[in-house]
Amino acid sequence: MTDRDEVVALIPRLRRYARALVGDPGGADDLVQDTLERALGKFHLWKPGTDLRAWLFAVMHNVYVNQLRRRREMSAFDEETMEIPVRAAQEGALAARDLQRGLERLPADQLEVLLLVVLEDMSYQEVATALGVPIGTVMSRLSRARDKLRVAMEGTPPSTRLQVVK
């Protein structure tokens, strides 16, 4: 398998993550495309033998942060990205719409951590490396993301039970 084949094999996972992160499918694929183009331009920086997936997600993180910055500067074009981001969850009590609303309410830095842990099943250390933050930051963002998501989906007030001594 060539390097390019490996990258291509990871595209579905990059798309899944981007879809959950960005919301609308077109915008998510734009993010993936920008990521792939950037990764290709910087491919000499990837060390063969190291984790290509982690590297690509780190590149995507950087591209995404830049996009957010630019979007804040030209928020006039934001409306068009508001489509139906989440396809319906198959069954169960949790409505896809509630999940979508919950995800939309999370700050980007917390959402990134939640998605890398839950969707990508990355270790906390891998997440820390991909996002360029200490592992303690990963843990607190993850905790806050879950609290906020629960509030958004169930209306339950955030837990004050963390760090309890029993």
Partner: protein, 255 residues
């Protein structure tokens, strides 16, 4: 019974199933005594499951061609080969224009002159495409326009040219001299294609009149308004016919 302190990190790792067995069972024992915390853990796990289920179908979707294309190297070397190939195929000035366009930028060529030339090159390269004439089809026109607007940093529009016999096929993003370029392709019933090349112009550029250029076998009408430079190209229709189409474009974009 010993007391167990449950930290934030413990709780998250417990939810994600990442604790070593001994720690896991210690936490589980504590949770068993605390219904509220147990409910919290269960809610978090349910949300994780819902999240995975909601986005699992994305993994099964076919990968869009534009993403596959993005993994192909586009260094000058491969472009030079492509340019040479097109030279052989098309011959004439279109080929010359390509080698010009990919020559390292020199002072004099930078301002306005390359607009019709670059538009002609783009037309010569993409309009003969049978399988991939556009990157995003007209069936996704709203997305196409929004995407290109976002990339160009200003609201781009795809004019409606049905009144002069042309229907939008779609468009693509192109690399321009100093940034992204929007490229729309139109086709008439007979299969003849015209392309509209749209790039952003420096703010102090002002406006220019309608101009015409022959770039080898490609005819180009072009003009600049305050935000954009536009060039409409065709290799198949007469100057008079193209003028009619260009007028329709101009009237819609510069009302």
């Amino acid at each position: 019974m010993s007391e167990v302190r449950i930290s934030e990190a413990d709780l998250q790792a417990y939810i994600d199933g990442r604790l070593a067995e001994q720690r896991r069972s210690a936490i589980a024992a504590e949770l068993a005594k605390d219904p509220e915390l147990t409910a919290q853990v269960e809610a978090y796990r349910a949300h994780s499951d819902a999240l995975r289920a909601a986005f699992l179908p994305v993994l099964e979707e076919p990968v869009p061609v534009r993403l596959l294309d993005a993994t192909r190297p586009r260094r000058r070397g491969s472009w030079a080969i492509a340019a040479a190939l097109v030279c052989t195929l098309l011959g004439g000035v279109a080929g010359w224009a390509i080698s010009e366009a990919y020559r390292p930028a020199t002072e004099a060529r930078r301002v306005e002159e390359p607009l019709p030339m670059r538009a002609a090159v783009a037309h010569a390269v993409y309009s003969p495409e049978v399988r991939h004439p556009v990157e995003v089809g007209a069936d996704q026109e709203a997305h196409l326009v929004a995407w290109l607007s976002k990339r160009l940093g200003a609201p781009v529009r795809a004019p409606k040219l049905e009144s002069v016999g042309y229907r939008l096929m779609g468009g693509r993003l192109l690399p321009g001299e100093s940034g992204p370029v929007a490229h729309f392709m139109y086709q008439c019933e007979k299969g003849t294609r015209v392309t509209l090349y749209v790039r952003t112009e420096a703010p102090d550029h002002g406006e220019t009149a309608f101009r015409y250029a022959d770039e080898g076998n490609v005819r180009v009408f072009y003009w600049v308004d305050h935000t954009f430079g536009y060039a409409l190209s065709s290799a198949d229709i007469s100057r008079e016919q193209l003028y009619k189409v260009a007028n329709a474009v101009y009237q819609q974009l510069n009302p």
